[in-house]
C-alpha cells in the first residue's frame, strides 16, 4: 500500500538530509506507528506519502502510484484515497460539526443525497451522534479530534495518515481516539500514525517504525516505543 525505496529527502539550506535512503513497505490493512525524536524525519515521511513533498532521490509508492511521476492534476485523486488527521484538528470554526464533515464530500464533488446519507453514519461511527449541529468550539478536544477523524474517513480512504493525533489530548481522550482508529483499521483501512506517546504505542502492540536522523533504525512487528520490546 505504501512503499519507500531508498528514499532520501534534502531541504535547501540544510546540511543533513531529512530522510536518508529510507526503505519501508507497509501492506494493506496494517496499523503502523512512526516514532522517533523531533527532527528524525517522521513528518517528512508523512508529507511524501501525501505528495506534499517529492523525494530528492528514491521512489515512493502510495496506493500503487509512484508519487514522483504523478502528474499534478492527478494528485487530488490520490489524496481522495488518503485521509489525514493532525494534532491541531484543523476544523473550520465557522461551520458546524456536520458541515465540517460534509465539507470533505462537498469539495470532492459528491451529491447532496450522498452527503445527507453518509454524514450522520460517520458521525455515529466516531461517537458524535446527535452533535452534528454543534460548533467546534462547543466540543472538547477529544470530540474535536473525532470530528477530524470523521472528516478524514468520510470518503472511505484506503489509507489514513495521522500526525500526532493525540498530542493535544488528555489520557482519557487519547484512549478514545486510539480505539476509534483501531476500529477504522479493522475495517481494512491502512493507518500510519506518527507519535511521541510512549504509553499508547506500548499498549497497542502494533508495528513500529523508528527513525533517527532520517535513517530507519527499527522496524518491529508488535513493537513498543522503545527498543526493549
Amino acid at each position: 500500500m505504501i512503499r519507500f525505496e531508498k528514499v532520501s529527502k534534502a531541504y535547501p539550506g540544510q546540511a543533513r538530509p531529512a530522510l536518508n535512503s529510507l526503505s519501508i513497505d507497509i501492506q494493506k490493512g496494517e496499523f503502523v506507528f512512526l516514532v522517533g525524536q523531533s527532527g528524525s524525519g517522521k513528518s517528512t515521511a508523512l508529507k511524501l506519502m501525501l505528495r506534499e513533498q517529492r523525494p530528492s532521490s528514491g521512489r515512493v509508492y502510495v496506493a500503487g502510484k509512484e508519487i514522483n511521476r504523478l502528474a499534478g492534476w492527478k494528485v487530488p485523486r490520490l489524496r481522495r484515497q488518503v485521509g489525514t488527521i493532525f494534532q491541531d484538528f484543523r476544523l473550520l470554526t465557522n461551520k458546524t460539526v456536520a458541515e465540517n464533515v460534509a465539507f470533505a464530500m462537498q469539495v470532492t464533488g459528491h451529491s447532496n443525497r450522498e452527503i445527507r446519507e453518509r454524514v450522520p453514519e460517520t458521525l455515529e461511527l466516531v461517537g458524535l451522534d446527535g452533535k452534528g449541529d454543534r460548533m467546534p468550539d462547543e466540543l472538547s478536544g477529544g470530540e474535536q479530534q473525532r470530528v477530524a477523524v470523521a472528516r478524514a474517513f468520510i470518503n472511505r480512504p484506503m489509507i489514513l495518515i495521522a500526525d500526532e493525533p493525540t498530542g493535544n489530548l488528555d489520557p482519557g481522550n487519547t484512549v478514545g481516539i486510539m480505539r476509534l482508529l483501531d476500529r477504522i483499521n479493522r475495517s481494512g483501512t491502512t493507518i500510519v500514525m506518527a507519535t511521541h506517546d510512549v504509553q499508547m504505542v506500548d499498549q497497542m502492540r502494533k508495528r513500529v517504525i523508528e527513525l533517527e536522523h532520517g535513517h530507519l533504525v527499527r522496524d518491529q512487528v508488535q513493537g513498543g516505543y522503545g527498543a526493549q520490546f
Binding site: 487530488p76 470533505a104 478524514a152
Partner: protein, 302 residues
C-alpha cells in the same frame, strides 16, 4: 461539482473583501473609461482625417499682375510658366487630380457667395483681381508638404492655399489627447493589476484553512480556484458595466448634446462607441482574470 458550495463561497468572498472589491471596481471604472475615451479619440481622429483629407485640396494661386502677394511675381503668369507648373504637378506621385480655375471662374464663385462689393453695378473687386489657380487633389493627404515643396517656388506661383496648415494642429491636439488618455489608462491599469493581485493574496490568506483542507481531502485545483475566479469575474463585470455607463454618458452629454451641433467634422457615433466598448470589456476581463489565474495557481498550488 457542488455548485451551491461554489456560489456560497463566492457570496462570502465578495462580502468578506468588499472594500477591496469596491477599490478594484472603481479603479477599473476609471482606467477602462480612460482607455475607452482614448479609443474613441482614435476613432475621432481617423474620422476627421478621412473627412478632411478627402475634401481638402491644395490650391496654387498664380500671379495675376494686379495684387500679387509674392514680390517675385513679375506680372501675370504666362503660358510657359503654366506649362512648367502643370508638368511639375503631373510628375508628382502624390498628385491625384489637377483642376484649373480661371480668373473668371474664381470671380463667379466669389459672386455666388454673395459677398458685399462683388456684385452690383460698380463692384470693388473685379475678375482681374482674382488669381488663376490649380486645385490639386492628393493621393494621400499626409503628403501635402512634398507637393508644395515641389511647386511653390516655381516662377508664376503667387501663393499656396493649404488648409492642412489649419487642420494639422487640430489633429495633433486630438492625437495628444488620445495619447494622454491612453497613458493615463495604462498607469491606472497597472494600479488595477496590483489591486487585483493584492485582493487575491488577501482572499487566499483569509481562506488558507479551507484551502489547506480542500487540498488534503483531494479537491481539484479548478474547484479550489473557482470561487476566486468567479469573484474576480463579478468585480470585472461591475467595473466594465460602470465604465460602459461612463462612456455612454461621454457620448450622450459630450458628443451628442454638445459637439454634434458643430458641423466641423463628422463626430463618433454609437457604432464607434460599441466597438470601443467591446475592446474595453475584453481588456477589463483580461485584466482581472489573467492575474487571478496566475496567482491562484501560485497560492493554492496542489
Amino acid at each position: 461539482m457542488q455548485l451551491r458550495y461554489v456560489f456560497t463561497e463566492l457570496r462570502q468572498g465578495l462580502r468578506r473583501n468588499l472594500s477591496m472589491h469596491v477599490a478594484v471596481a472603481l479603479t477599473l471604472l476609471v482606467s477602462l473609461t480612460l482607455a475607452g475615451v482614448g479609443l474613441l479619440l482614435r476613432e475621432q481622429a481617423q474620422l476627421t482625417e478621412e473627412v478632411w483629407g478627402d475634401e481638402l485640396q491644395i490650391t496654387f494661386y498664380m500671379c495675376n499682375g494686379a495684387n500679387d502677394r509674392n514680390p517675385q511675381c513679375a506680372g501675370a503668369v504666362d503660358d510657359s510658366q503654366k506649362e512648367v507648373i502643370t508638368n511639375a504637378l503631373e510628375d508628382n506621385r502624390y498628385v491625384d487630380k489637377i483642376e484649373p480655375e480661371s480668373q473668371e471662374q474664381a470671380y463667379k464663385r466669389l459672386q455666388a457667395l454673395d459677398v458685399e462689393g462683388v456684385s452690383g453695378p460698380d463692384p470693388v473687386v473685379k475678375a482681374g483681381d482674382m488669381w488663376e489657380s490649380y486645385w490639386v487633389t492628393m493621393t494621400d493627404p499626409h503628403h501635402s508638404a512634398e507637393i508644395i515643396e515641389a511647386v511653390a517656388g516655381l516662377d508664376g506661383i503667387d501663393h499656396v492655399g493649404d488648409v492642412h496648415e489649419v487642420t494639422g494642429p487640430i489633429l495633433a491636439a486630438v492625437d495628444g489627447l488620445q495619447s494622454a488618455a491612453l497613458v493615463g489608462a495604462i498607469v491606472l491599469i497597472v494600479a488595477a493589476l496590483l489591486l487585483v493581485a493584492n485582493t487575491i493574496r488577501l482572499a487566499a490568506f483569509a481562506r488558507r484553512r479551507e484551502i489547506g483542507i480542500m487540498r488534503l481531502v483531494g479537491a481539484s485545483t479548478l474547484y479550489i480556484a473557482l470561487p476566486f475566479l468567479l469573484e474576480s469575474l463579478v468585480v470585472a463585470l461591475v467595473g466594465i458595466g460602470l465604465s460602459g455607463v461612463a462612456l455612454a454618458a461621454v457620448m450622450h452629454f459630450g458628443v451628442e448634446q454638445r459637439l454634434s451641433s458643430t458641423a466641423v467634422t463628422q463626430w463618433v457615433g454609437w457604432e464607434e462607441f460599441f466597438s470601443s466598448f467591446a475592446i474595453v470589456a475584453l481588456l477589463g476581463i483580461l485584466l482581472t482574470l489573467v492575474p487571478t489565474l496566475l496567482l491562484t495557481r501560485k497560492y493554492i498550488k496542489v
